[in-house]
Symmetry: C2
Subunit: 459 residues, 2 copies
């Protein structure tokens, strides 16, 4: 729904509530998607939230609850009667309940667990044991399981009986007596077969599945590769313990891309939306890397001080330092970004290091030659001739352009190899991006610059 | 499937083929997922491809074909007999055929269209008319449509009869005589109702849908928000023309994230994987922005030349330029990245500009004060006292740290406002990232530096 449309509906609902027309207000909401109702409710002052929420039919209320911010959820839970809490919890899928529990303060968690039935509580406790970012932590235990000796008719009977509470019914999993996963059958296949056909004859028996401890990023990449709508999760004995649905895989994919971008920009990742993150929290996420990078710029400062005499003798050299360090940083960033993304999409791995370096070397050479040539012409044409700056001699231009070529070469090599190295060492390659590489390249290019300048200009 | 496992299977299949054991080779492949078979086939020399491909059963062959690289697809099509081509095309979904046609050279396209039946050809031509990156360009026209007066039994009959060729059968769309979309019913709902229930009584009639010309990025964000597995696409008269399935939405989400990262790193986006992109192509994607940014560094050079006398009078000032420009660039990048991501996830829009700037202003002030304080201590402790550099006086440290604070402030404001401005002007905000902002901030911070230095140091 469009933002403007949402604001209009919010205004309308507000007027209706003020006039005591609750049934009409409810009418405005029930046709919306849960995600939109959650957005709508967030437009109202907090005090109104419980009243509005109580207008919703039970099932829709629970679906809306799942889509809300943690702050709103907490506020609602605190306003719920025990029966209301129980009703919402009953309608929620277990993986959503686990997500909720992980975000709530202890007193609320206690109340939630108290109002779950014994079986759910056991399942929740199991799910909470899986490490963050593991397949187990994003799976749900609510799936349809069948046995191999069932007929299609019996399978449909089971789906009809148990399907209401399952997150997806379209993929059904076949398990044996020890709960080991032996097959997969889709409702599509079931529909296209006769009622008396036996599951074991029509099921797929080679199934792609993940283990509880697999990384969630790997899982979301598998969804993307195989185009599944759900994927089974098994334990080490290949027993089926849960399923992951495509909507959760999409959330992971989005969150991982955001996290990579944040790390690449020297921000410590958070999982809150931009405007929901407080000022202090933002400062805490951004200052550490800025501080580290600022302090490591001490090295470039030292290099400059060391070559102070050279700079004094040929002051024009200073004017090109920002261009050199900017181009170096940008070149390195390009290579690093390309490699980091390829690593995270699984396109390359450590075994490809030499191929990557060889490619970047050739790219850097061609890029560097183009840039150096353009810069040479620009320095003589613009700086010397148009700006009448006699200090920009052919020798100075040559020094700057040779340094430029070396800087681009060095930047691309550093930029492409650091992320792969980080991955090999078990670090996140995204941290090796732009800011870090710029700092390294800055120091390198200054050293090269002064070296070449002293050689060629005799200073 | 793991890379190592894949290599093992490839070796095994190769040996079996060499020994003429074709049936055994086929056995090795038929249990794999199409995406894995495509990967497996890419390990063989090109000449072997047609033989291996012909071993696959018809349906699996078509599914594998869709997963292949364009180069492999072209090679296969050129080796296909007319019947083989027709068989593969029959099994393919229309949206995949359109994708294929868009990537193939004219002669191959001609052959493909020649072997489609008349109806598919018409549908393909319709689909090809939609602009790139529009909802229409990623939809398929193969969906299950029902009418409101059908019973559940009749609906299942139609699904069974026509479902084989549909990309998803789990969501069925209800249309009236003029093909206007009036409702949505899921197979789950159908299964949970009696055979005689009428569709109009059980269908959802308020449906989230997109228009053919909507941006594909908006569409993929809607999938993420609403957790759908398919979404209907309608024309301007609200007639149902196609559906988009979640796997295609996931592809879009991934491609858009990659594109944003590339743009943010000053790379012109390409849709090929890293190692598949040739050296020249990579150079062409990377050089233009590097060139533009390099030439715009002329301004910083001019500023430096203009203040040459000040730099000569107080040479130590030069030593802190890399640190100032680095920190400025990094601060700006942080703000820009946070805002670009929030824009592309739909968390903020132009209306939030003032809130965003107010937030960044406070963040920048706190960040800047922390950094300036740390830097002040570091300059006096490390540079002056430990390195015995008498030129680093308290006054110089004050000038550098005051500039640092101003630079962080300026960088965050520029960094957060340029992307929003770009979005408002209909440009891609991602282009306003790191490299561009660094260049702007570089010039600004130098101006501030020399201004403050002349004021405080009397040079």
């Amino acid at each position: 729904m469009q933002k403007e449309h949402l604001a209009l509906t919010a205004g309308l609902v507000e007027r209706l509530i003020r006039d005591g027309k609750y049934a009409a207000a409810r009418e405005q909401m029930v046709d919306l998607e849960p995600a939109d109702i959650a957005l709508l409710l967030s437009e109202f002052p907090e005090g109104r939230l419980p009243i509005l929420f109580r207008l919703l039919p039970k099932e829709l209320a629970a679906e809306t609850f799942v889509e809300m911010d943690n702050d709103q959820q907490e506020l609602l839970i605190r306003s719920f009667s025990d029966t209301e809490l129980q009703e919402v919890l009953e309608e929620m899928y277990l993986d959503d309940t686990v997500d909720l529990i992980e975000e709530m303060p202890a007193s609320v968690v206690h109340r939630i667990l108290h109002h779950c039935d014994a079986e759910s509580r056991r399942a929740i406790n199991e799910l909470m044991k899986y490490p963050e970012d593991s397949a187990g932590s994003i799976m749900t235990t609510e799936f349809v399981s069948l046995t191999a000796d069932m007929t299609v008719e019996a399978a449909f009977k089971r789906i009809r009986r148990t399907g209401v509470d399952k997150e997806t019914i379209y993929l059904c999993y076949v398990v044996n007596d020890s709960r080991v996963l032996t097959g997969l059958v889709s409702v599509r296949t079931l529909l296209l077969h006769d009622e008396d056909d036996v599951i074991s004859d029509i099921m797929e028996s080679s199934i792609v599945c993940v283990q509880t401890l697999d990384d969630q990023e790997t899982v979301s990449q598998m969804f993307n590769k195989y185009d599944f709508i759900a994927m089974p999760v098994v334990d080490q004995e290949h027993r089926l313990v849960g399923i992951i649905t495509v909507d959760d895989a999409m959330d992971v994919m989005q969150a991982e891309a955001t996290e990579d971008m944040e790390k690449m920009a020297a921000i410590m990742p958070s999982d809150k939306p931009y405007l929901k993150t407080g000022v202090l929290e933002t400062v805490r996420a951004r200052t550490p890397w800025l501080m580290i990078l600022m302090l490591s710029a001490t090295f470039t400062g030292l290099i400059m001080t060391r070559f102070e005499d050279a700079l004094m003798a040929c002051a024009i050299l200073t004017a090109f330092i920002p261009m050199l360090s900017g181009t170096g940083g940008n070149s390195g960033t390009q290579a690093a970004t390309a490699v980091i993304r390829a690593l995270s999409l699984g396109e390359i791995s450590f075994g490809d290091t030499l191929r990557v370096i060889w490619k970047e070397l050739r790219v850097a050479f061609l890029c560097g030659v183009c840039l150096a040539a353009a810069n040479f012409v620009k320095m003589l044409l613009v700086d010397r001739w148009m700006m009448h700056n006699p200090a920009v001699t052919v020798a100075v231009a040559a020094v700057v352009c040779l340094t430029l070529l070396c800087t681009v070469l060095g930047a691309k090599i550093v930029g492409c190899s650091l992320p792969i190295l980080a991955e090999k060492l078990g670090l996140d390659p995204a941290v090796m991006a732009s800011p870090f590489i710029s700092t390294v390249v800055d120091a390198l290019s200054l050293l090269v610059y002064f070296r070449i300048a002293t050689l060629f200009l005799g200073i």
